[in-house]
Symmetry: C2
Subunit: 337 residues, 2 copies
């Protein structure tokens, strides 16, 4: 093995072969991948599938709570889970900068393998490209994911069952990922540091669905934060959403940093948070189930679906006022994920 | 719309939404994508699937015969086709450099859409990230692909039916893609310019399979060229391969350039070429079917599977000598695909 990535590691020749054997096969061990074929072959027992992809360009690549590898697995697993699907298989496409340290790559690959195991999915196909120094920044990872979707959950993704009086629930503190990245990038020191919330959500989602929680909508709160998801959810629909500002789980460090930088916590990125919309009578049981999971220990009801103001999201302040929540325009922080 | 890509186009907010509507939906129009969900949902009627991914970092992004968009569709379609699968769905993950011209993006997206239609597949899920100027080089594209695989073709990928006296066939001139990229990069002028061979191979593969050609192995000749594929195919197997140098379809321009730069045409990258191994009696009919396609018009038998020299590839020269063909060590030309 070499100490750094060289252009030859992306050549498709012997150096690529060595990297596959000594790195990818070592950590991603599974029969599909070991075939080392151009395509990986697998069988499914459902005929409805979910398919998603995301590229990850987060900077820094190592941050409190995780790294780009863990993020690349969790992010795609969560996209599948949010559609109600059971995540099964992932692909991994790496773009590496010439000179990237081999030990860093190993840390990232190990982290992907650990999170894949944790999430119960397999990384069964992959690709590695190497570009010259200065032509990309360290490492970019794309993962695509396949899951199986039971027909009874097909309505969730489009929110077809959302109706007035439904309850909005989030599973914990908003903005942890963006705060952690910002702190790492700006070298900020908090008394109580905020770690990224990067986590796979699908075991918790699975528990909700298996326990008969009537989920009408579900979406992870990534780029654009909860504001963007609420806005997407209500856009051109015959209902609105009302969010109670006081009930939003926001850490004091997050509040402080937002005031300092002029950010709005509603737009902060998360990587282990989701919004679920459930029938009113399901809200209590849903919270109870979510609290069984570390990632759901601060689950809260934050608002309701309303008949009034269709297509709009209203944030109700503690003082009785309210403001309309719109989607993020422009960029808060680049390369957050 | 803006004239160039800004960081906000990767934010997940309104600018990302505009880009999705005005660019991706416009060209990739299909019901799955229009759901604009985190995951795309589809149904399959076979329970054996093939899954593959590749990232494309080719430089230059526009070259004679194609562009990075066409390449990103063909490359992944071909990986599926080579396993005997029928390609069905693609994902598209873009990483864009801030300042990338919107017209170039539109040309590339249109090119992806055209090639997808040509190949009969749909791009049903995608993601766009934007990094600051200088943090990537123009545009990188990842595609992942899903196809369905009939059980009777499952042996092809691993070459389980390869046996001595089988014939090796390639579908045309070797090295066109690498020569075209090299010429574009070095601004070389040929009297007869060589265009990249970038093409989807799966209609031709489908015709071979449907007409009962007994294909024992099939692989597209990308990075590392035909040498790497022959080497992989024979590695640790109880047969060898003998290739007749005189029968290799190589253009005179390619020969000339290889002599000039000290390259070996066996290692040159292709993006619309494949090696197939067929039973001896199938070789004639296979050539006949391939010649019905523009991409197969120079199909030739180039060698045989041998019982002697197991695990090795021998190149027989016209003068009666022979040399062992090994896999590419190091890199010939970076960012070839």
């Amino acid at each position: 093995m070499y100490n750094t990535i060289l252009l030859g590691h992306g050549s498709g020749g012997t150096m690529t072969g060595d990297l596959i054997r000594n790195m990818f096969l070592k950590y991603f061990k599974n029969p599909c991948l070991e075939m080392l074929s151009d395509s990986s072959v697998f069988s499914v027992d459902h005929n409805t599938l979910a398919f998603t992809t995301d590229s990850y360009v987060v900077d820094p690549i190592f941050f409190p709570g995780g790294d780009i590898g863990k993020l690349a697995v969790c992010g795609t697993v969560n996209d599948l889970a949010m559609s109600g699907a059971k995540p099964l298989y992932l692909s991994s496409g790496l773009i590496l900068e010439e000179g990237f340290p081999m030990t860093d790559l190993e840390t990232i690959i190990r982290s992907m393998a650990e999170e894949a195991q944790n999430a119960g999915i397999q990384i069964i196909t992959g690709d590695t490209k190497v570009v010259k120094k200065g032509q990309c920044d360290k490492i970019f990872i794309n993962t695509a994911g396949i899951g199986i979707l039971e027909d009874r959950y097909r309505h969730i993704s489009a929110g077809l069952h959302i109706r007035p009086d439904d309850r909005l629930i989030v599973n914990g503190f908003l903005g942890d990922h963006e705060i952690a990245i910002m702190a790492a990038r700006e070298k900020l020191n908090f008394e109580e540091p905020v770690a990224s919330d990067v986590s796979s959500l699908h075991h918790m989602v699975h528990a909700l669905l298996e326990n008969g929680i009537d989920i009408h909508f579900m979406r992870d709160l990534t780029r654009g934060g909860i504001a963007s998801i609420l806005d997407e959810m209500t856009e051109n629909r015959d209902f609105g959403a009302s969010v109670d500002e006081a009930s939003l789980p926001i850490r004091s460090q997050t509040k402080g940093l937002c005031e300092l930088y002029g950010f709005d916590p509603l737009y902060l990125a998360n990587e282990g948070k989701m919004l679920i919309v459930v029938a009113r009578e399901s809200a209590g049981p849903a919270i109870e189930i979510m609290k069984r999971f570390a990632i759901g220990s601060h689950a809260s009801i934050i608002g309701t679906i309303t008949k009034t103001r269709p297509g709009m999201v209203l944030l109700q302040s503690g003082t009785g006022g309210s403001r309309i929540v719109t989607r993020l325009a422009g960029e808060q922080l680049p390369r957050i994920c």
